[in-house]
């Protein structure tokens, strides 16, 4: 597809389990971002990848959160030992350059519910 693709679209899991969220960016986009959106709130930055540079992890809320980007394309966000406060929509975005002067295009997110 032409847009950012995220999977799964919904994920329900028990507290304490690990989850993996996947993002396929727009082909050719070098920059990839993860955000979190809690119910009725704005977006909270989590992590950023640009080309082969070391990722900017400054937004990750705890060491239970990690992300990787393989081959400069697909990215996986992993949350270990999930807690109820991790429940949110996790959004991925990509842009064709990472200097912050071109728009980020978003996927429809993964809605994560922790029971």
């Amino acid at each position: 597809g032409a847009g950012v693709s995220q999977s799964p679209s919904n994920k329900v899991t028990e507290k304490g389990k690990d989850v993996e969220l996947r993002c396929d960016p727009i082909s050719g986009h070098t920059a990839l971002y993860w955000y979190r959106q809690s119910l009725g709130q704005g977006l909270e930055f989590l992590i950023y990848f640009q080309g082969n540079s070391a990722p900017d992890k400054s937004g990750l809320p705890s060491d239970r959160f990690s992300a990787e980007r393989t081959g400069g394309s697909v990215s996986t966000l992993t949350i270990q030992r999930t807690q109820q406060e991790d429940s949110a929509v996790y959004l991925c975005a990509s842009s064709n350059e990472g200097r912050g002067l071109s728009p980020q295009h978003f996927g429809d997110g993964t809605r994560l519910s922790i029971l």
């Binding site: 912050g100 002067l101 728009p103 980020q104």
Partner: protein, 112 residues
């Protein structure tokens, strides 16, 4: 800390009227701003952007105005349609690596 914020959480507009959504930002170093539209269950959809060296930019039925003196950003939607009902977010680029800081959003409700 510095932040992007919105004046009005909900805006009710009659179909056919013009809408104006306002946003205040506090980071004077921000050099790029974006407006997004988010419908229920969807990701934010890019509407229009503007760089800090401009004060106005027009798209299809939308205009973004930037007033750097008072750190104010607005989105104008002409002839608002039912399909414009959504939450609108302004966002600013606050560093050189493209991280965006988002406001809380404004719910726009278009009434017939």
């Amino acid at each position: 800390g510095e932040s992007v914020g919105l004046h009005l959480p909900t805006l009710s507009v009659q179909e056919g009227d013009n809408s104006i959504i306002n946003c205040a930002y506090s980071n004077s170093a921000s050099d790029y701003f974006i407006w997004y539209k988010q419908e229920s269950g969807k990701g934010p959809q890019f509407i229009i952007d503007i760089r800090s060296n401009m004060d106005k930019r027009q798209g299809q039925r939308v205009t973004v105005l930037l007033n750097k003196t008072v750190k104010h950003l607005s989105l104008q939607i002409a002839a608002t349609q039912p399909g414009d009902s959504a939450v609108y977010f302004c966002a600013e680029n606050f560093d050189s690596w493209g991280k965006l800081q988002f406001g809380a959003g404004t719910q726009v409700v278009v009434t017939p």
